[in-house]
């Protein structure tokens, strides 16, 4: 039983990072209807920038953390302005492929600068485990979980009450109507990419503190798809829950398969099997908008 409890706790931690990355994905999709296949690479770039600032340049962690966030804002702006804006109005496949191309470019840039070996962050928090409900949990895990929850709270409030947040929701709902009400839709697009880049970077930094980082980190971006489909492509709450559920599910399924069928590495696909099932039964997810077509 404790085996599964441990799996669930691990799943919740990994899931909270999935949620963060999914949050970035959903913000972009909601506002701009762009499916971002480079989300995982944005996580990776953020993690490596923070690593470079902390370890290679020797800055204090908090300073480098803030500088990484500033860098992410610039990165998000550049991506939106240079790559995505010329493609407004192009077919979906072009938009998908441009983000796929972007992901390979980012990945190869990271490999170029930092190589492929695993890099480890210096420990920021003490490593003695804290006992929660009889299960030892490293403080960094708890920090990851709390930080994700905090970010979600911040963004929920932002979208609900701030003027900009309401403008973003209006854009998501109907671009033409938003534009005629005096909302700069292009600015909203740029802003959503900035927010997504910042959120992904935070996810990357947390992940770097837990596992270390390497050039394969971008695969995380593919794990986001099950999470967002489960939650519903355009729902923030869905992204949060979807990430957590997928995280727990894949850990438990992996542990179960290993214990019962001694099948290794089921973690890699568990989420996608779930994804296929959801797509067959309820493609708009738990909280997504159900698209209805009438002739």
């Amino acid at each position: 039983m404790e085996y599964y409890l441990q799996l669930i706790v691990n799943g919740l931690v990994v899931g909270s990072i999935y949620s963060l990355v999914a949050l970035g994905f959903v913000i972009i999709y909601k506002a701009t209807k762009v499916v971002n296949f480079a989300q995982g690479e944005m996580v990776m770039v953020g993690a490596y920038i923070c690593f470079a600032l902390t370890v290679q340049m020797g800055l204090p962690f908090l300073v480098s953390f803030l500088m990484t966030l500033i860098f992410s804002v610039v990165l998000g702006l550049c991506i939106e302005r240079v790559i995505l804006r010329p493609l407004i109005g192009e077919p979906i496949i072009s938009v998908i492929m441009v983000t796929v191309g972007l992901s390979t470019v980012l990945k190869s840039l990271v490999q170029l600068f930092w190589g492929t070996q695993i890099r480890v962050f210096p420990p920021v928090l003490p490593s003695e485990p804290i006992w929660v409900a009889g299960v030892p949990i490293a403080p960094i895990y708890i920090a990851a979980f709390v930080l994700s929850g905090l970010l979600f709270a911040v963004f929920s409030i932002f979208f609900k009450y701030s003027r900009t947040g309401i403008a973003m929701r209006a854009t998501a709902m109907d671009q033409q109507a938003a534009q005629s009400m005096g909302i700069g839709v292009k600015n909203i697009f740029a802003l959503s990419w900035c927010i997504a880049a910042v959120v992904s970077s935070i996810g990357g930094i947390i992940l770097g503190n837990i596992n270390g980082i390497n050039a394969q980190l971008g695969h995380l971006g593919l794990k986001v798809f099950p999470a967002v489909i489960l939650g519903g492509l355009d729902s923030l709450l869905g992204a949060a829950l979807g990430g957590l559920i997928i995280g727990v599910l894949e850990n438990v399924a992996d542990g179960f398969m290993q214990q019962v069928f001694s099948l290794p590495g089921f973690k890699e696909v568990a989420a996608y099997v779930v994804l296929v099932i959801i797509l067959m039964i309820r493609p708009y997810g738990l909280f997504g908008t159900r698209e209805i077509e009438r002739v």
Partner: protein
């Protein structure tokens, strides 16, 4: 259609003819003869490149039928090619004749493709892309972990194909096989596009609701597109497996799917000629970059260290640049060049 000056069509049949003029027929014929003679004067390495191009042409034409013409995005064609490769490989290892194994590989892949195409009835655009992405990742996992059948990470060794007692054990002999199959696939797809089915595919891509309202059975036609497309992908996989004579799961990962999608985008979505251009371009790109790296190596001695990382990045960069600056692909550029020369001294 874009024929020569003064060419007027009086019937639909004449408009959908392959060759609008004798000159087209003649130039294509000469080009084919040149290609068929090429193994005699090209080096072994160059013929092996031609083989890779032929195989890529089959896969690209197949994917273009599904994604470019029918509008169903598939991120799983790399894995479908893998299914064909493993099935054909298993059959020839069991002693089947090569062509029977190749066809069976294609059929099994068609079934697998249709299976993952079933969600396409309810799913569109990005949902379908994600569903096929799941297909890709699940199949990759199966290739890697179904060790008793696929050999797992170690891979599967195969023999050169034997046709009518003759072993195709060098590049030149293999060239005629791959060229023949590639030519047949191109002809098949080009002809499908001229039929009722092809027009239904294009109608579904352009606007599925109006297609349905004029009596196109969406589900049947989408499944047909998936079936034909993955059948040809399976054939490409079978040929590739027997050409390289060794297959491992890494060959069929998501990068392969992306490469094939890049081919049809760089070549031109929905264009048979474009798929061929794209296949040539993407297959030769690493070679070209290799030459470039060697040349640059005389200025920057340790560039080869970074070459591997750079290669994928440059590939992605070219994809992005094409999408931004030439979204209709090389086929469109080719048309512009032809139009320019047609009116050469009086371009305007």
């Amino acid at each position: 259609m874009r024929g020569k000056c003064g060419l007027f069509h009086t019937s639909y049949a004449s408009e959908t003819r392959f060759f609008q003029s004798g000159f087209q027929k003649l130039s294509l014929g000469l080009f084919l003869v040149l290609l068929l003679c090429s193994p005699f004067f090209l080096s072994n390495y160059q013929v092996s490149m031609l083989n890779m191009i032929n195989i890529a042409v089959i896969g690209a034409v197949a994917l273009n039928l599904l994604t470019g013409c029918c509008g169903q995005i598939s991120l799983g064609h790399g894995a479908f090619i893998g299914v064909g490769a493993y099935t054909t490989g298993l059959c020839t290892l069991a002693g089947w004749p090569f062509f029977a194994a190749l066809l069976f590989g294609g059929l099994v892949t068609a079934v697998v493709g249709m299976l993952f195409g079933i969600p396409s009835l309810r799913l569109k655009g990005i949902y379908l892309a994600i569903a096929t992405l799941a297909a890709q990742l699940i199949l990759s996992y199966v290739f890697l972990h179904w060790t008793s059948v696929t050999g797992g990470a170690i891979g599967m060794g195969l023999d050169a194909p034997v046709i009518l007692g003759m072993s195709l054990d060098n590049d030149a002999k293999m060239f005629y096989l791959t060229f023949g199959v590639a030519a047949a696939s191109v002809l098949l797809v080009a002809n499908i596009l001229r039929t009722r089915h092809g027009r239904a595919f294009v109608a579904i891509r352009d606007f599925h609701q109006s297609a349905e309202s004029v009596g196109v059975n969406l589900f049947a036609y989408k499944l047909q597109a998936f079936a034909v497309s993955s059948f040809l992908a399976g054939i490409a996989g079978g040929l590739w497996a027997h050409y390289t004579m060794y297959i491992t799961p890494e060959q069929f990962d998501i990068m392969l799917s992306i490469q094939y999608l890049a081919m049809i985008i760089i070549g031109g979505l929905g264009s048979v000629l474009g798929s061929i251009f794209g296949a040539v371009f993407v297959t030769l790109l690493p070679e070209f970059l290799g030459v470039l790296a060697q040349w640059a190596g005389s200025f920057f001695p340790n560039i080869s260290m970074y070459f591997l990382a750079l290669r994928e990045g440059i590939f992605g960069l070219i994809l992005v640049l094409f999408l931004i600056f030439e979204p209709e692909g090389l086929a469109h550029r080719w048309r512009l060049i032809k139009a320019y020369w047609k009116l050469y001294p009086f371009a305007h």
